[in-house]
Amino acid sequence: MPLERKIKYEKDCDREFADWVTSQTGGENLRHCIQCGVCSAACPLSLYMDYTPRRLINMARAGFKKEVLSSFTIWLCTSCYSCRAECPKQIKVTDIMYLLKRRAIEEGVYPKRFPIPVLAREFGRMIFTFGRVDESLLVANLFLRTNWLRFLDMAGVGLGLMRKGRMSFVPHGIEARGQLRRVLEAIDSEESKEAAK
């Protein structure tokens, strides 16, 4: 069995990453965490997580960038905000999950063909083009892009919905698509300006 070094050397810790997290909106009082674990206990998904939210928070502020960004935990968050509601230090755990997801997508470190980041990207693509989301189309795309076999398994759902008139494959977008694009592009240029600085 292959041996792997578990001990952390200080050089393995990425201070810059820790500072980045705490500097983001939502990350403000991350450093105040007293590791009580109430977030983990309140989380309905923690039972599937590789690291509990509490551990993830601690690893983030310690700068364990690799483990944090590649963790399964951030992708399991359904943003039900239970953690944030219970946190005695009012740490915005959910928002922190969001910003970690964003960073992971930027750096391309997430399980390949793992549906959730794809879902997120699909959302983006669809909103850009139509201004609205057509769930059915979204779901269909999603499964075709990840694991189309599962699509068959889920097809039952789709058929049921269709029978009940709850599915439409014609994407109805907004009229002012141009306007919407201008708005989103304005953000891009603004952010690229900042990047330049």
């Binding site: 909106t25 910003l99 919905l161």
Partner: protein
Amino acid sequence: MRYQYFPGCSLKGSGRAYEESFLAVFRALGVEVRELEDWNCCGATAYMSVDETKSYALAGRNLAIAARDRADVMAPCSACYLVLNKTMRGLGENPELKRKVTGALKAGGLDYREGVKVRHPLDVLVNDIGLDEIRKRVKKPLSGLKLASYYGCQIVRPFATFDDQDDPVTMDRLMQACGAECVDWPLKTHCCGGSLTGTLPDAGLRLAYIILNEAKKRGAAALVTPCPLCQFNLDAYQGQMAGKFGRPNMPVLYFTQLIGLAMGLDADELGIGRGIIPAQAALAGR
């Protein structure tokens, strides 16, 4: 009384019954509800994980449009309700973000103004219209109907603006006003699995099942909810659950549908038939 109405994508798709019943009820109450013109996707929570600023801008566009009218905005979809409120707070607390977003909106010829109120129909029904008014309108009380009121997460968290985060009661009081009975149970705001039902069924379906199963245990004949995604997960996936955990066979209705029934509106007008799990039995021909 007059309100603007932000449907959001779900209420035009899988949540159609929600829109139908919501509009029907407010029509019957004589409250004017106007759909926000050319609204766009609220930027839903999942999008937050692609680009935060853009998701603020997306919601910002809707708020800018809403600001042209003084009337409060009703957002029946929990996600929309949360995202729009979160955006207002976010822009309020973070001037830098506000500068970016309002700037971008300007580029699109829109101007963002503060002071728009985004509210949930539950809030409006209980605090603006009032339970007494509802009681007055009840023609066919839902007497004998045992319900488990399930709120889901995002209308009380993180911003508990009109109800308690752990033990909300608004919808229970509404259902009681309609003559129904609400079981006492602890899962009112537990997670239904959100988008995981689709992306990670093993995880998502389990959560959904726990809720349906507990409701059943407590003797509820049906689940009532104010959230389209919850309704979708809890209703549409019961078939998938069957294989893994067992078949709850529990109809999942929108609170607007039940209010509508109590007020004597026509079941089809309220989209009762659109449920994957038929509700007729539970509603005993109401």
